[in-house]
Symmetry: C2
Subunit: 224 residues, 2 copies
DNA sequence: GTCTATAACCGGATAGAC
DNA sequence: GTCTATCCGGTTATAGAC
């Protein structure tokens, strides 16, 4: 037990060293220009050893993802405390997201290029990304819970995940945004969040019931 | 002149041979499993020679892309003749799209990898794709025109482009869809198109005016 | 069973001779 | 325009150490 424990601990340390080395190199030179050999050397391990801990180079990017998410979760927390207005809550979360990811924009081409590849483990819809997806969804569940907006029962369960997908759309837009100070994305966030909140509040309106039912049927059929 | 002409002709022939070889191999084994060496051999040229004509493996895909585009424009036309129901028109266009792209599903990894890269000319939102984007938008403008649905003036101009973006979303979903016979995407198309048509028809409803105005403001601010 | 290293493979891409 | 030879880096096979 002690042996197994220390061994495991040692393994974790090695793994951590590799991640650190990778992140540093990514930050310095971007993804493409960072070789696995350099990562291994920087971490003081052999190339094969790096592959023992990480199935592929892309898997190292998950560490990156995880950091961004952790940083975001932390940065977003204040925006969720002592605030019950749904729009402000949502806006707070989205704005902090933009703040957190901004430093990575210059590498976005390299970093996120594969993110849309269905086979890439970086893809947020990929199986390997399930934890990240779930955490993101939970964050938006919190956004909703803290507000006092009522959502029809039939669709309530779907909304957090839909909000997460919406936020992924924002990020996609951001990737393409080269406007000064990312002005277009900020406009998108402000305007679209308002729109989204309006829609959520309308969800209970009887007039929209057929629309809601259609949407629900859609979501169920495509298994989202 | 004759010499230069024949030289050019020879070059074009070689280039064409390489493209044909590539497309055949892509069709057989998919993009990833097709090596440049195999393409070169299949075309009866050396590896280096293949690279003389195509800067990279990805560049070979442009040929493919062009084919898909032309095929859809042609295939969609019949669906728009003698039909005035908006839902049926929209559904027809989307279904033919799925039919046309189906054989290429195995390429999806690469297609989207490049298509999502903000810097890739294959990206549908990229500057270089303006013609394709415009054609797509026009196609959906025709879808609307041929129906007798009335759309509020303020937003009428935006709707065709929004429908095109919507269709890009469908394609994105399709890329990730590994269900049998692409059942999930077909469900998505059928359900979402119904939903979209419902929304379009509701656009004139006074209740939704504030929502419409918000949406309009959003579209103007992000310059879509 | 956990960990680490070395050597090799493979395929995209390039250099330079002809 | 075409080739051969080579580079380069992601990935894998495998042997052995703890």
């Amino acid at each position: 037990m002690t042996t197994a424990g220390s061994r495991t601990r040692k393994g974790e340390q090695t793994k951590a060293r590799i991640v650190e080395a990778a992140l540093e190199l990514f930050r310095e030179s971007g993804y493409d220009d960072t070789t696995m050999r350099a990562v291994a050397q920087n971490a003081g391990v052999s190339l094969g050893n790096a592959y023992y801990y990480f199935k592929s180079k892309e898997h190292l990017l998950h560490a990156y993802y995880a950091r961004i998410h952790a940083a975001h979760a932390e940065a977003a927390a204040p925006a969720l405390e002592n605030e019950s207005d749904l729009h402000k809550r949502l806006l707070g979360v989205l704005k902090t997201k933009l703040e957190v990811i901004e430093p990575f924009h210059r590498f976005s081409g390299l970093l996120f290029r594969t993110a849309a590849d269905p086979k890439s483990p970086l893809n947020p819809f990929h199986e390997d990304s399930a934890p990240a997806r779930q955490e993101g969804t939970q964050l938006f569940a919190r956004v909703l819970e803290g507000s006092r907006v009522k959502i029809p029962k039939d669709i309530a369960q779907k909304v957090p995940h839909l909000l997460w997908v919406y936020s992924m759309g924002i990020v996609l837009f951001w990737l393409h945004d080269d406007s000064k100070d990312r002005a277009r994305t900020h406009a998108l966030v402000e305007q679209s969040s308002e729109l989204v909140v309006k829609m959520i509040k309308m969800l209970s309106n009887p007039l929209l019931r057929p629309l809601r039912k259609s949407a629900l049927k859609l979501l169920n059929e495509i298994d989202v």
